[in-house]
């Protein structure tokens, strides 16, 4: 069992193996992710019942919740990859962080934007400085810092290490930010707006929501693989295995 895991880890670190396997997986994942997103969108937008309190506006939940949740998951996965990179110097982890950062940034942005669009009709404001929104904004800034850092170093390895350091510093800092905004909030904003009041969701709304979340996760998997492949091919274009591969095609 341990041996099998170890083998898998070593394979995962191998660019040719990853390149080969991802080529096979991408079409399948891509197909299912888009299928799920289409189904859940149609279901959510046209067939799920209207909310008693919010009316039809709530339907943006099918974009907002998946985007926000995936943006956080991507960051946490990146920080795991950062630790792997710093400890075991696994090159694939560097590729992972570089490829996933723009995707994470995009979904954080979608989350912020859809939240604002949702917020305007329901609470009458585009933006509230509450703990969740603020920490999402900070998350977005960290993504931008990570993307910006890529070009600061001449050497690929140094850039990957720097980015890993920022990612880890960010993951240590994010809970502190969230907590401190919470404290600050209790002084400035007496809880006039409770965003967590959406827990009483009916199953007819829940199923398309779960489908859309699954769809977005698959979509991130799909685009992540695509970006990683692109990154690998730009890093390894002078390597034997890559030249052989491209001359075969």
């Amino acid at each position: 069992m341990f041996q099998a895991l170890k083998n898998f880890y070593h394979k995962l670190g191998s660019f040719p193996w990853f390149y080969k396997i991802s080529g096979k997986v991408i079409p399948i994942v891509g197909f299912f992710s888009i299928l799920l997103i289409v189904i859940s969108s149609i279901w959510g937008l046209f067939f799920s019942p209207t909310d008693a309190v919010q009316g039809d506006v709530y339907r943006i939940i099918y974009f907002h919740v998946p985007a926000v949740s995936v943006s956080q998951v991507i960051y946490y996965s990146m920080s795991v990859a950062a630790a792997v990179f710093l400890i075991w110097r696994m090159k694939m982890a560097g590729v992972y962080i570089k490829s996933l950062a723009p995707i994470g940034a995009a979904f954080t942005f979608i989350g912020l934007l859809s939240g604002a669009i949702w917020g305007q009709p329901t609470w009458g404001t585009w933006w509230v400085w509450d703990a969740r929104l603020t920490s999402t904004l900070v998350l977005f800034l960290f993504y931008l810092a990570i993307i910006g850092m890529q070009s600061t170093f001449a050497s690929r390895k140094s850039a990957d290490t720097a980015v890993s350091i920022i990612t880890l510093v960010g993951v240590v800092n994010l809970p502190i930010v969230k907590k401190s905004v919470d404290w600050w909030n209790t002084l400035h904003q007496p809880a006039s707006i409770s965003i967590s009041g959406e827990s009483s969701i009916s199953s007819e709304m829940l199923i398309p929501l779960l489908l859309s979340i699954l769809g977005v996760y698959l979509f991130v998997f799909f685009t992540g693989l695509l970006f990683m492949r692109a990154e690998i091919s730009s890093r390894e274009q002078n390597k034997e295995w890559f030249k052989k591969l491209s001359s075969n095609n």
Binding site: L141, G148, M149, T161, V169, N173, K179, W183
Partner: protein, 219 residues
Amino acid sequence: MIYLIKILKKEFLIYSRKSSSFISPVVFFLISISLYPIGISNDPDILKNLAPGLIWITVLLSTLISFQNIFSEDYEDGSIELLLASRQNLSLIVLIKIFVNWIFSCLPIIILSVSSVFLLYFPQEGLKPLIISLLIGTPTICLFGALAGALSLGKNSITGPALMLPLSLPVLILGTQAINYSLNGINFSSNILLLTAILVFLLPIILFASVGALKLHFN
């Protein structure tokens, strides 16, 4: 030990010769503080309420002027190469650099922030929490500045500030809150303790990360 004292003396000498290192933050601070009444309102009541936040934000922004100073010159003139070649422990040296940078770029502003009493009508009884929170909070910000500076060496990118400001958020929140608490008659010692905890907790982590980041430029 003698080695470290030598570096400390050298840093002090360099900073004291380079007048821009402490004058720029001071000028920036004074300009901003005098712009607020003009740009916002000269109503004492409004300014009094905003003052804690305004002072803290201005201090935070003025560190953006100086954080590049911690390493950039040493990087340009080759001093960092010599430090690496000396095989000494870099973390203590980096700590000294951050400390001297703090003395020259933050300490003058902290002293000057007293001027907000007449410029921003800041109540005198708030001075104690203001000074204490700044004294404990700004070293943490200088630490973040060192990390951002080490990572963005040689490039004048927005990455440094983009990294530094979100990191500094908790310090900003706790600092202004301490002042507001005290002005409202609430005990602010918990905020000061938290600021201290953040400093103590982050000091080794950020120091270690900065040294790592510094070494990345020499691979």
